[in-house]
Subunit: 331 residues, 2 copies
Amino acid sequence: MRRVRIGLLGCGVVGGGLVQLIERERQRIAARDSIDLHIARILVRDRARERPGIEPGLLTNEAIEVIDDCDLVVELIGGVHSAGAYVRRALRAGQDVVTANKALLADCGRTLFALARQSGARIGFEASVCGGVPIVRAIERGLAGDSIESLTGIVNGTCNFILTRMEQDGCDFAAALRMAQQRGFAEADPAFDLSGADAMQKMTILSELAFGPLHRFARMHGIADVTTGEIEQARSRRCVVRHVGSAHRVPGGVEVRVERRELPETHPLAAVRDENNAVIVRGRAVGEMTFGGKGAGSLPTAAAVLSDVIELAASDRRPVAERIPSSMNLT
Amino acid sequence: MRRVRIGLLGCGVVGGGLVQLIERERQRIAARDSIDLHIARILVRDRARERPGIEPGLLTNEAIEVIDDCDLVVELIGGVHSAGAYVRRALRAGQDVVTANKALLADCGRTLFALARQSGARIGFEASVCGGVPIVRAIERGLAGDSIESLTGIVNGTCNFILTRMEQDGCDFAAALRMAQQRGFAEADPAFDLSGADAMQKMTILSELAFGPLHRFARMHGIADVTTGEIEQARSRRCVVRHVGSAHRVPGGVEVRVERRELPETHPLAAVRDENNAVIVRGRAVGEMTFGGKGAGSLPTAAAVLSDVIELAASDRRPVAERIPSSMNLT
């Protein structure tokens, strides 16, 4: 049994879920994978805040205390500045990092993977796209034997919740958005989701995994201008409106698009409702594969983080080149 | 660049697909994973048979020539007797094995994994369940951080083709079966598929991965007695008939069932048509995840085999305990 000390950066929705999940699953993981997982320290902004189920002695305001005294760093702060500095520090020291931070990867993923390559560290990022759905592993390894032709998916749960509520309840955009906010599926400032920017970050990561570091032609359209008339017209044609991300090769690179599309009721993405996510991967040999499930939320995302923690902690150190898709390396 | 010599046992539908796929994807794989894949020898029954695209000099009737002179064995013979003997020989010698042979794993998987554990060899078996759909990786690793509560799926493409043709075309069982045979989705002797035995083998493997080596209570019912009346009655209730495999914990073990079920038209498995497969995995933290795609066929299955070959060939030798799910070990 190997004891693994996790340094946790951030203890918000996903971080709190991870602490809870490790507590719940520790014995099963120890029996299956011979690793004994422990949270060693937790970086938080406010040590005084009440955090039920979390031992106050683990909390600190000093990132360095967390990073420099653990076996594996889990970064769940979000944002690119502090999170990027902490992740770079860990990688430079050769420490494995697990992150759910899609903004960081979309912003400087190639640099981080190059750093990891130099030091022999590894980066787990299953949770950065589509929460609990293991789409990163599916593209990176499950379909490693095939050439991927296209990706098509619903990767933002907030937009999908709004569009399907308008469709099912006949309400307008503003009412559906309020419903999403009440249920916790939309932020107080929902612009990042509604503009398509969140979906574009996710499609950027998936596209890099599927097609490598080609030039990206990006085109983005959100859902804030969707009308009940648009939904009704689609319905009259036995169609539904969905916010669809897609990526496919074009001359000179990869076209990555995020936009509303009218899909026939029989289309597999038409069956994706409310806050769910789904990605259709088309491979030259395998044809169309669909991966769907909860794309966000505390425990689903924490489960994806934990799957990376287990895989990194349970395996010895392979040469990093074998873990990182070369498509995400600069060198 | 590491040169990897593959010893291929069997050159039928999947084996032929693998040779073709390696030829097509070699350069991409070399660039991405720094391995140069070569078929070193191929075991066949009939060396005289015409095999377009396959170099006759690679063919042999001697299994030992193939197994003892390669870096990795790919077993695509099927059946349990010869295939089992060959796989055991390779594993005893510490050679990694990739297999698509679900019968072999359902029959003596625990023994084979114990053998592998002793010698430090690894077994890749992604292709043994649901062809190109990376469901083995998803359960074994993608959902490693979560406790799995149940599996529910359509895992036999022949049965699903027949049921959906009866539903869509209004034909009877015999006509739908003929159609499946004409299109190559059903064997000349379709009893193994129609009885549910094929689905039961697949559910057995998935259940072992998800729940570990618990006692299994198996219950199996096929589709050979389905009538057009049954399909019609379901339709009148806005339902469809599907052949569903399922597994969940019960007191004293795991109940594994394969049976016809009437599902509402809105059920995710109702949207799985023709020869497609899909598995819904319910995890305690992640909720319901769906994995779907082509569950059989030459190239989709070959792509799953190749994904295992790449992963084993590209990684150095981790201690075998870290590769094999402990749920599939005897010790």
